[in-house]
């Protein structure tokens, strides 16, 4: 569904991404693992068109109609219309606006307008907690609730692929668990999910596949089952020392 | 280079030389001015000063030019924009004198500009007919700078006319003794109101409200409401055109109907009548004209033909008259001799559209202090003993 190949990006003078390739299929959760600063966020931003990718990269998506669309070089708002929704690190919500407004803005792209009402019901079904807070200003909500708004807003754009950047950041363990359950449910609707996450174990528990990224390069990949026991994962976070799990 | 092209070159050079020589043997008279075409002063200059310069130049050139000696010289104009900035104005005047070498320079607009220009005009030896300048120190300045002349009368003279008018109305039993006075907080407003305060007190009037407001105020209703609350017989406002319009408008709206409604600068603008129509009737202001004078009649009609609208009835006719004086002075001297022209302006007697003009201490005394809208014109009513003064009428209530 999402095909990325040979994507490179610079952060100022720093080469943050170096020829990364990956793919995400329908109904699949793919997790990207790696230490801080490895290039995970840059990868998602480059796919979403927020960060300029070096020429030569290929980003393509085939939606429900199976037509393949080339996305490289397109502005961010057009990429949303093409079916990719990013929930950025730090959530990127509109703090001064209400929950309802945030969610309805998610349906701003023309692709999502027809099913706006149905999608809103779907989102509120996923996050019942938002139902009673539709009129609340998002800035005044807790971190977990804000994260729900952010994910809900992305879902409102009826995406084919959902990109999530550290959704568990700043959430309590209980909230975190809830979140991962919901991601698993979202996947059932046929979306592809590309997830960047610190919480390796929890994300591997719901993921189908994963990539390990270090210094802007993919250094390992495999099924979630295989990665759960792969020492490379722990090395990516805790270094090469002896570790008793 | 061939001989032929050399010859052509020589011919061209000769032609150039002839052209230059032609320019040197002067048949035109160069007149320059630096005036505010942009910036805050542009509005004032565009009403009173610039149109009269244009009308006069056209008139002179249509008549074949100024007669200098036995030759008629047409006017060639050089115009600069001083952008309402004293320093720019000074620079432009220097440029006119030293670069363009103009024969005469017409003055800028406003008291401040004319005073800033005075030392330069004096140093360069040009006559300065400072029509739109109004200061009580006029006598002192004309002594300091003998080339400088004033034309609008002293603030004190204007105030004398005002007080005289009010006193007469009081004596005739038309108004009581209570005056509300309002002034714009700049030199014009303050000088006039200071003089008026003294004059009115001396004449036994009681000033029941006396405030100034800043230039650029966008709502004068508070001022008028307090003035109205003091229940005066007279509203005396030394205001600028936007405020003059606003004061009238507001007074009408809040139903403030003093027996004398005196506002201005701006009352004498044709636009005032245009805006307020019948409500202008009886409103007084500075200036005025003697519409019975044939010169004024001709001037108003002529100004309308050339510029497309009527002139104001205060400084405009005087501006035009000052230019007539300049022209006559040049013609009498018979050559471009600025020192002689200055002397002639100061000592001679001239026939102009406003009647006979003879400067005293470099000041024109042929002025109207108070004018009043009566019917379709803004007539001079004071000084009361001036020839042609119309009797004052009582102002009807706003319609």
């Amino acid at each position: 569904m999402l095909e990325v190949s040979g994507i490179s990006a610079f952060y100022g003078k720093h080469r943050a991404l170096d020829g990364v390739s990956l793919n995400v299929e329908r109904g699949e959760i793919v997790v990207i693992l790696g230490a801080n600063g490895a290039g995970k966020t840059t990868l998602l931003n480059a796919v979403a068109g927020v960060v300029h990718a070096e020429p030569g990269a290929r980003i393509a998506i085939s939606g429900k109609d199976s037509a393949v669309r080339e996305l490289s070089g397109m502005p961010a708002h057009a990429i949303v219309e093409a079916g990719i929704a990013l929930v950025p690190e730090g959530r990127g919500i509109f703090g001064e606006l209400t929950v309802r407004e945030n969610l309805l803005l998610g349906a701003y792209p023309p692709r999502a307008r027809a099913n706006e009402a149905a999608n809103l019901d779907m989102v509120l079904g996923l996050f019942p907690r938002l139902q009673e807070r539709l009129k609340q200003t998002v800035r005044t909500m807790s971190g977990g609730e804000q994260q729900m708004v952010a994910i809900g807003r992305a879902l409102m754009s009826a995406p084919d692929v959902l990109l999530l950047d550290e959704p568990s950041l700043g959430l309590s363990p209980i909230m975190c668990g809830e979140l991962f359950h919901i991601l698993a449910r979202i996947r059932q609707s046929g979306l592809g999910i590309l997830l960047v996450e610190q919480n390796a174990r929890q994300s591997l528990a719901i993921a189908d596949r994963g990539y390990i990224i270090a210094n802007g390069r993919i250094v390992g990949s495999g099924t979630a089952e295989a990665l759960k026991t792969d020492p490379a994962v722990q090395r990516a976070y805790l270094g090469a020392g002896e570790v008793k799990a | 280079m061939s001989k032929r092209s050399l010859a052509a070159l020589a011919l061209a050079a000769a032609a150039m030389g002839a052209l230059c020589a032609g320019a040197q043997a002067q048949d035109t008279i160069k007149i320059g001015w630096a005036i505010s075409k942009t910036g805050p002063f542009a509005a004032g200059a565009a009403v009173t000063t610039l149109p009269n310069y244009q009308v006069w130049v056209k008139d002179v050139n249509d008549a074949g030019g100024i007669k200098v000696g036995n030759k008629k010289m047409k006017i060639e104009v050089i115009e600069y924009d001083d952008r309402s900035n004293s320093e720019e104005m000074i620079k432009a005047v220097e440029r006119l004198a030293t670069q363009d070498k103009v024969d005469f320079i017409l003055p800028p607009w406003s008291t401040g500009m004319n005073l800033a220009a005075a030392p330069i005009f004096n140093k360069l030896g040009y006559p300065q007919l400072a029509v739109t300048a109004n200061t009580n120190k006029a006598t002192e300045f004309t002594k300091r700078w003998p080339n400088l002349t004033f034309w609008l009368g002293l603030p004190s003279e204007i105030v004398d006319g005002i007080v005289e008018t009010f006193a007469k109305m009081n004596k005739d039993g038309k108004i009581g003794k209570k005056v509300a006075m309002v002034a714009v907080a700049d030199q014009f407003g303050i000088e006039q109101s200071t003089a008026a305060r003294e004059g009115l007190k001396k004449a036994g009037f009681e000033i029941v409200y006396d405030k100034s407001y800043p230039f650029g105020s966008q709502d004068l209703q508070p001022v008028l409401k307090d003035a109205q609350a003091a229940n005066p017989d007279v509203l005396l406002a030394f205001s600028y055109p936007p405020d003059t319009f606003a004061l009238t408008d507001t007074a009408k709206v809040i139903g403030f109907n003093p027996k004398v409604f005196f506002v201005g600068v701006g009352t004498a603008f044709p636009g005032y009548k245009g805006k307020f129509q019948a409500n202008a009737e009886g409103v007084m202001g500075i200036g005025g004209s003697d519409a019975a004078l044939p010169g004024i009649k001709w001037y108003i009609q002529h100004h309308k033909e050339v510029i497309g609208r009527e002139p104001d009835r205060w400084a405009s006719p005087i501006t035009y008259a000052s230019l007539q004086v300049l022209q006559q002075a040049i013609e009498r001297v018979g050559k471009i001799d600025r020192a002689a022209v200055i002397k002639e302006i100061n000592t001679g007697s001239f026939d102009t559209i406003i009647g006979k003009v003879k400067l005293v201490d470099g000041q024109n005394k042929n002025i109207w202090a108070v004018g009043q809208w009566q019917g379709n014109d803004f007539f001079g009513v004071a000084p009361l003993n001036k020839a042609g003064a119309k009797p004052v009428i009582a102002k009807p209530a706003w319609q």
């Binding site: 390796a200 174990r201 929890q202 090469a240 002896e242 570790v243 | 910036g39 924009d81 620079k91 440029r95």
Partner: protein
Amino acid sequence: MSPRSIGLAGAVLVAVAAAAALPLVGSGYHLALGISLLYFSVLATAWALFSGPTNLVSLATAAFFGIGAYTTAVLTELLPWPVVLAASAVVGIVVALIVGLSTLRLSGMYFVIFSFGLAELIRQVVTWYEVNIHGSVGRYIFADTTTEGIYWRLMILLAMALGAGWLIRRSRLGLAVRVIGQDEVVARHVGIDTTRAKLALFAVSAGFMTVTGAVMAPRWTYLDPAIAFNPVISFEVVIMALFGGAGSLFGPLLGAVPLVLLFDVLGAYFPTYFSVILGLVFVFIVYGLPHGVIGLLESKVAALRRASLETGMSAFAERVTGPVWSRAAAHEPATDAPVLELIDARKSFGGLKAVDGVSFTLNRGEILGLIGPNGSGKTTALNLISGAIPADAGDIRLDGKAIEALPPHRIAQRGVARTFQLVRVLPASTCLENVIAGLAFHAPPLWGEPADEKARALIARVGLAGREGMPAGQLTYIDQKRLELARALALDPHVLLLDEWLAGLNPSELQDGIALVKMLRQEGLTIIIVEHVMDAIRSLCDRCVVMNTGRKIAEGPPAAVLADPEVIRAYLGDADA
């Protein structure tokens, strides 16, 4: 002096002499034009003294200019000329100090419009005073001065303004505001009292504007608030300085001169269409010269300079030339007392408890690793120590003395230096200046030749020898990190805080980086590192403090804490949620 610089000096001298002789040979118009050129040049130069380096666009020029003009109007018949000018300077500076103290915390557009409002307020108050107290709005000035005198005074004033600009640029004050303009956070962390520096410069700039007004006033014979406080002057000066390039000494001059000439030419030849043409010229200038006139010149120069810089790079491995950091030996008390103590430090943002009662100590000469997953509060803890963010509660002691209430520049002066998570160099400054910024504001400050020498040594030390003259913004990411470290070391710190300093390095660079930190420790420096590169933590740290969700969850040797199940859970999460 080289023959070339003698030639240059000679040319400048001839130009100045020619300019000074203008009143003797030129016409009145030339003189008037000269006065326009000079007074705008002085105003634009003075404006850029403050606004250039700080990037705070001030529209208060008319206020100070007007104050100067009024001082002349009031005093000119009472006092001799030099005293009038001195008095105006004093009045201007005093007003600037009062205004500056209250306004310098405003930023961006708020400052711009505030400064405009200030000028208008002063104008209104002066008007009110003149009307109600003085009894007349206009003032006449009959000073005993000539146009030539005004011209020459302005020339002297311009020379003084340029001289002041030159001196300030070379002074610690100049460096301080250059640092502030580029990065106020860095400025505080190298020990700069930012308020004082800005205030000083604002006052100097205002002083020149005021004196310009005082010098110009007699030219107009008559003065009222509309003339003295003409707001158009403020706008014109901003436009001229920005057009020329406010960041450099001669930039405003390069803006003022062509624009005054342009105004003059357009005003002379197109009096009717002046506005339209001027507007169009302006729009085209904005497109054509995005960095001002000086930018045009500098880009040419920079291209030449860059070509010559490509040579002379040294590898990271070959520069360890001996200890540069030497404080321990010189003036450290030899006690076992901890260098730094955090006792129950707390900080919340809104509802989020970023640091939630954290305590730890830092012993002399050790490297302490502060680790934990993303968002666990490590950087906030560093910010509390360096004073970047004030703590809500808790004590922080440096050498036994409380520092939690001190502003960051005081903490920096007491010997806490840091690097930043997202590298913060001063991009427009040279590498040398970046490091000198670290030397010039600690106690006792190092300045001039010794500072140069030490900065060069530090630059060589981190492997950047040969790039002293290069703007820091042109360095690669890794080199910017090195430079940032050099600047921190320049502070001569007791305690060095490294916030993810090793992040983003490739494996060989990482080894070099680790070696460098080790060496610093051997030289006796005490260090806290916040780091995600665990291999570095293992090989560098004596001890680790592990944080999660704002709390300390473990403390001990790296191998032990990294094997702690709770730490592993913090990093990798629970499989079962």
